[in-house]
Protein backbone atom coordinates (compact mmCIF):
# COMPACT_ATOMS: atom_id res chain seq x y z
CA UNK A 1 0.00 0.00 0.00
CA UNK A 2 2.70 2.48 1.02
CA UNK A 3 4.40 2.85 -2.36
CA UNK A 4 1.02 3.22 -4.04
CA UNK A 5 0.01 5.99 -1.70
CA UNK A 6 3.38 7.61 -2.11
CA UNK A 7 3.26 7.46 -5.86
CA UNK A 8 -0.31 8.73 -5.98
CA UNK A 9 0.32 11.72 -3.78
CA UNK A 10 3.76 12.39 -5.21
CA UNK A 11 2.10 12.52 -8.61
CA UNK A 12 -0.54 14.93 -7.34
CA UNK A 13 2.13 17.04 -5.70
CA UNK A 14 4.28 17.31 -8.77
CA UNK A 15 1.35 17.82 -11.12
CA UNK A 16 -0.11 20.57 -9.00
CA UNK A 17 3.35 22.04 -8.46
CA UNK A 18 3.87 22.27 -12.19
CA UNK A 19 0.40 23.73 -12.42
CA UNK A 20 1.37 26.47 -9.97
CA UNK A 21 4.04 27.58 -12.38
CA UNK A 22 2.14 27.06 -15.60
CA UNK A 23 -1.23 28.60 -14.75
CA UNK A 24 -1.67 32.11 -16.06
CA UNK A 25 -4.14 33.25 -13.46
CA UNK A 26 -2.78 33.73 -9.94
CA UNK A 27 -5.88 32.27 -8.32
CA UNK A 28 -5.39 29.03 -10.23
CA UNK A 29 -1.80 28.97 -9.08
CA UNK A 30 -2.89 29.57 -5.52
CA UNK A 31 -5.42 26.76 -5.57
CA UNK A 32 -2.90 24.41 -7.14
CA UNK A 33 -0.55 25.35 -4.35
CA UNK A 34 -3.25 24.47 -1.84
CA UNK A 35 -3.52 21.07 -3.50
CA UNK A 36 0.27 20.68 -3.31
CA UNK A 37 0.15 21.44 0.37
CA UNK A 38 -2.73 19.09 1.04
CA UNK A 39 -1.01 16.20 -0.68
CA UNK A 40 2.23 17.06 1.07
CA UNK A 41 0.28 16.81 4.30
CA UNK A 42 -0.69 13.27 3.33
CA UNK A 43 2.97 12.50 2.64
CA UNK A 44 3.83 13.89 6.07
CA UNK A 45 1.30 11.49 7.54
CA UNK A 46 3.01 8.63 5.71
CA UNK A 47 6.28 9.79 7.24
CA UNK A 48 4.77 9.68 10.70
CA UNK A 49 4.51 13.42 11.15
CA UNK A 50 0.89 13.63 12.26
CA UNK A 51 1.19 16.92 14.03
CA UNK A 52 3.10 18.54 11.21
CA UNK A 53 0.58 17.27 8.68
CA UNK A 54 -2.22 18.96 10.58
CA UNK A 55 -0.14 22.09 11.12
CA UNK A 56 0.54 22.12 7.40
CA UNK A 57 -3.17 22.03 6.71
CA UNK A 58 -4.11 24.59 9.35
CA UNK A 59 -1.25 27.02 8.95
CA UNK A 60 -0.31 26.72 5.29
CA UNK A 61 -3.47 25.68 3.55
CA UNK A 62 -5.88 27.19 6.03
CA UNK A 63 -4.23 30.49 6.85
CA UNK A 64 -1.35 31.46 4.58
CA UNK A 65 -2.98 30.42 1.35
CA UNK A 66 -6.29 31.96 2.38
CA UNK A 67 -4.35 35.15 2.81
CA UNK A 68 -2.96 34.79 -0.70
CA UNK A 69 -6.37 34.12 -2.16
CA UNK A 70 -7.72 37.02 -0.20
CA UNK A 71 -5.11 39.39 -1.57
CA UNK A 72 -5.57 38.14 -5.10
CA UNK A 73 -9.30 38.74 -4.84
CA UNK A 74 -8.79 42.11 -3.23
CA UNK A 75 -6.41 43.29 -5.95
CA UNK A 76 -8.50 41.54 -8.58
CA UNK A 77 -5.28 40.46 -10.22
CA UNK A 78 -5.79 39.32 -13.76
CA UNK A 79 -3.67 37.09 -15.92
CA UNK A 80 -0.15 38.30 -16.15
CA UNK A 81 1.49 40.13 -18.97
CA UNK A 82 3.39 37.75 -21.20
CA UNK A 83 6.11 40.15 -22.16
CA UNK A 84 8.74 41.18 -19.69
CA UNK A 85 11.93 43.08 -19.92
CA UNK A 86 14.35 40.72 -18.25
CA UNK A 87 16.32 38.78 -20.75
CA UNK A 88 18.82 37.78 -18.11
CA UNK A 89 16.28 35.56 -16.48
CA UNK A 90 15.37 33.84 -19.69
CA UNK A 91 18.87 33.54 -21.09
CA UNK A 92 20.66 32.43 -17.94
CA UNK A 93 17.73 31.18 -15.92
CA UNK A 94 16.62 28.23 -17.96
CA UNK A 95 20.10 26.78 -18.37
CA UNK A 96 20.74 27.33 -14.68
CA UNK A 97 17.59 25.44 -13.79
CA UNK A 98 18.58 22.62 -16.06
CA UNK A 99 22.02 22.46 -14.53
CA UNK A 100 20.42 22.49 -11.08
CA UNK A 101 18.23 19.54 -12.00
CA UNK A 102 21.22 17.70 -13.39
CA UNK A 103 23.39 18.40 -10.39
CA UNK A 104 20.71 17.38 -7.92
CA UNK A 105 19.96 14.20 -9.85
CA UNK A 106 23.63 13.30 -10.05
CA UNK A 107 24.34 13.92 -6.38
CA UNK A 108 21.25 12.03 -5.33
CA UNK A 109 22.21 9.15 -7.49
CA UNK A 110 25.64 9.00 -5.91
CA UNK A 111 24.79 10.02 -2.37
CA UNK A 112 21.49 8.45 -1.50
CA UNK A 113 21.63 4.67 -1.75
CA UNK A 114 22.69 4.13 1.83
CA UNK A 115 19.50 5.74 3.14
CA UNK A 116 16.84 3.53 4.64
CA UNK A 117 13.22 3.18 3.70
CA UNK A 118 9.92 4.48 5.01
CA UNK A 119 7.17 2.23 6.20
CA UNK A 120 4.01 3.72 7.60
CA UNK A 121 3.95 3.27 11.36
CA UNK A 122 7.72 2.85 11.75
CA UNK A 123 8.21 6.19 13.36
CA UNK A 124 5.85 7.26 16.11
CA UNK A 125 7.78 10.32 17.26
CA UNK A 126 5.79 12.88 15.31
CA UNK A 127 2.69 13.11 17.44
CA UNK A 128 1.54 16.25 19.14
CA UNK A 129 2.98 15.07 22.45
CA UNK A 130 6.50 14.49 21.19
CA UNK A 131 6.62 17.66 19.10
CA UNK A 132 5.18 19.68 21.95
CA UNK A 133 7.60 18.19 24.43
CA UNK A 134 10.61 18.97 22.29
CA UNK A 135 9.23 22.41 21.55
CA UNK A 136 8.86 23.38 25.18
CA UNK A 137 12.07 21.87 26.47
CA UNK A 138 14.94 21.70 24.04
CA UNK A 139 13.67 24.28 21.58
CA UNK A 140 12.07 26.67 24.03
CA UNK A 141 14.24 29.62 23.13
CA UNK A 142 13.72 29.37 19.35
CA UNK A 143 10.04 28.94 20.03
CA UNK A 144 9.87 32.10 22.08
CA UNK A 145 11.95 33.92 19.51
CA UNK A 146 9.51 32.94 16.79
CA UNK A 147 6.71 34.40 18.86
CA UNK A 148 8.59 37.69 18.85
CA UNK A 149 9.15 37.29 15.12
CA UNK A 150 5.46 36.87 14.56
CA UNK A 151 4.70 39.88 16.68
CA UNK A 152 7.10 41.90 14.57
CA UNK A 153 5.49 40.56 11.42
CA UNK A 154 2.04 41.55 12.67
CA UNK A 155 3.18 45.05 13.48
CA UNK A 156 5.00 45.30 10.16
CA UNK A 157 2.03 44.08 8.18
CA UNK A 158 -0.34 46.49 9.89
CA UNK A 159 1.98 49.43 9.42
CA UNK A 160 2.53 48.58 5.76
CA UNK A 161 -1.08 47.92 4.92
CA UNK A 162 -2.52 51.01 6.59
CA UNK A 163 -4.11 53.37 4.16
CA UNK A 164 -2.31 56.56 5.08
CA UNK A 165 -0.30 57.71 8.03
CA UNK A 166 -2.67 60.42 9.15
Amino acid sequence: MDPLFFLLFAFITVACGVNVVLQKHPISSALSLVAVMASLAVLYLLLGAEFLAMAQMIVYAGAIMVLFVFVIMLLNAGTEATRGRSWTATIFGIPAILILIGALAYFMQTGMPQLGSVKFGDFRGGGAYQVGYALFTEYLLPFEVTSVLILIAIVGAIVLARKELD
Binding site: L46, L47, I64, V71, I72, I97, S117, I158
Partner: protein, 113 residues
Protein backbone atom coordinates in the same frame (compact mmCIF):
# COMPACT_ATOMS: atom_id res chain seq x y z
CA UNK B 1 17.04 2.08 -10.70
CA UNK B 2 15.85 -0.83 -12.77
CA UNK B 3 12.29 -2.13 -12.97
CA UNK B 4 13.06 -5.21 -10.92
CA UNK B 5 14.13 -3.05 -8.04
CA UNK B 6 10.97 -0.96 -8.28
CA UNK B 7 8.86 -4.10 -8.35
CA UNK B 8 10.69 -5.29 -5.29
CA UNK B 9 9.92 -2.05 -3.49
CA UNK B 10 6.25 -2.26 -4.45
CA UNK B 11 6.10 -5.79 -3.16
CA UNK B 12 7.94 -5.04 0.04
CA UNK B 13 5.59 -2.17 0.83
CA UNK B 14 8.23 0.31 1.99
CA UNK B 15 9.21 3.48 0.18
CA UNK B 16 12.91 4.37 0.07
CA UNK B 17 13.66 7.64 1.82
CA UNK B 18 15.50 8.75 -1.28
CA UNK B 19 12.20 8.84 -3.16
CA UNK B 20 10.92 11.43 -0.74
CA UNK B 21 14.11 13.39 -1.16
CA UNK B 22 13.82 13.19 -4.89
CA UNK B 23 10.27 14.46 -4.67
CA UNK B 24 11.49 17.28 -2.48
CA UNK B 25 14.18 18.15 -5.02
CA UNK B 26 11.69 18.09 -7.87
CA UNK B 27 9.34 20.41 -5.99
CA UNK B 28 12.19 22.71 -5.17
CA UNK B 29 13.28 22.96 -8.77
CA UNK B 30 9.70 23.64 -9.81
CA UNK B 31 9.65 26.46 -7.28
CA UNK B 32 12.92 27.85 -8.56
CA UNK B 33 11.70 27.71 -12.12
CA UNK B 34 8.54 29.54 -11.21
CA UNK B 35 10.48 32.12 -9.28
CA UNK B 36 12.77 32.87 -12.17
CA UNK B 37 10.32 32.64 -15.02
CA UNK B 38 7.04 34.04 -13.73
CA UNK B 39 6.26 37.75 -13.80
CA UNK B 40 3.30 38.08 -11.48
CA UNK B 41 4.65 39.07 -8.09
CA UNK B 42 2.05 37.02 -6.23
CA UNK B 43 2.87 33.91 -8.23
CA UNK B 44 6.53 34.49 -7.57
CA UNK B 45 5.73 34.71 -3.91
CA UNK B 46 3.79 31.47 -4.07
CA UNK B 47 6.77 29.81 -5.70
CA UNK B 48 8.81 30.76 -2.67
CA UNK B 49 6.23 29.00 -0.52
CA UNK B 50 6.55 26.01 -2.80
CA UNK B 51 10.31 25.93 -2.23
CA UNK B 52 9.82 26.18 1.52
CA UNK B 53 7.41 23.27 1.37
CA UNK B 54 9.91 21.23 -0.61
CA UNK B 55 12.51 21.87 2.05
CA UNK B 56 10.03 20.93 4.78
CA UNK B 57 9.41 17.63 3.06
CA UNK B 58 13.10 16.76 3.14
CA UNK B 59 13.33 17.83 6.77
CA UNK B 60 10.55 15.47 7.67
CA UNK B 61 11.95 12.69 5.53
CA UNK B 62 15.26 13.00 7.33
CA UNK B 63 13.48 13.12 10.66
CA UNK B 64 11.98 9.75 9.77
CA UNK B 65 15.31 8.51 8.54
CA UNK B 66 17.05 9.37 11.82
CA UNK B 67 13.96 8.68 13.96
CA UNK B 68 14.30 12.06 15.60
CA UNK B 69 11.71 14.70 16.19
CA UNK B 70 14.12 17.60 15.57
CA UNK B 71 13.39 17.61 11.87
CA UNK B 72 9.74 18.18 12.61
CA UNK B 73 10.64 21.17 14.70
CA UNK B 74 12.71 22.63 11.91
CA UNK B 75 9.75 22.22 9.61
CA UNK B 76 7.56 23.79 12.26
CA UNK B 77 9.80 26.83 12.49
CA UNK B 78 9.91 27.08 8.72
CA UNK B 79 6.12 27.21 8.75
CA UNK B 80 6.11 29.93 11.37
CA UNK B 81 8.62 31.96 9.43
CA UNK B 82 6.62 31.38 6.25
CA UNK B 83 3.52 32.69 7.99
CA UNK B 84 5.33 35.81 9.15
CA UNK B 85 6.87 36.24 5.71
CA UNK B 86 3.52 35.86 3.99
CA UNK B 87 1.92 38.46 6.23
CA UNK B 88 4.63 41.05 5.65
CA UNK B 89 5.15 40.13 2.00
CA UNK B 90 1.51 40.42 1.12
CA UNK B 91 1.32 43.72 2.96
CA UNK B 92 4.22 44.92 0.85
CA UNK B 93 2.53 43.70 -2.29
CA UNK B 94 -0.65 45.55 -1.31
CA UNK B 95 1.32 48.74 -0.77
CA UNK B 96 3.19 48.37 -4.03
CA UNK B 97 -0.02 47.75 -5.89
CA UNK B 98 -1.63 50.77 -4.30
CA UNK B 99 1.24 53.00 -5.32
CA UNK B 100 2.06 51.65 -8.78
CA UNK B 101 -1.06 49.71 -9.72
CA UNK B 102 0.88 46.86 -11.23
CA UNK B 103 1.80 43.39 -10.12
CA UNK B 104 4.33 42.76 -12.87
CA UNK B 105 7.72 42.49 -11.27
CA UNK B 106 9.42 43.53 -14.48
CA UNK B 107 7.79 46.92 -14.08
CA UNK B 108 8.79 47.29 -10.46
CA UNK B 109 12.41 48.21 -11.01
CA UNK B 110 13.01 51.49 -9.20
CA UNK B 111 16.11 50.04 -7.56
CA UNK B 112 17.95 49.98 -10.85
CA UNK B 113 21.40 51.61 -11.09
Amino acid sequence: MDPAQIAGILKQGAVPTSWYLALSAVLFVIGVAGFVLRRNIITVFMCIELMLNAVNLSFIAFAHEHKQVSGHLFAFFVMVVAAAEAAVGLAIILTVFRNRSTLNIDEIDSLKN
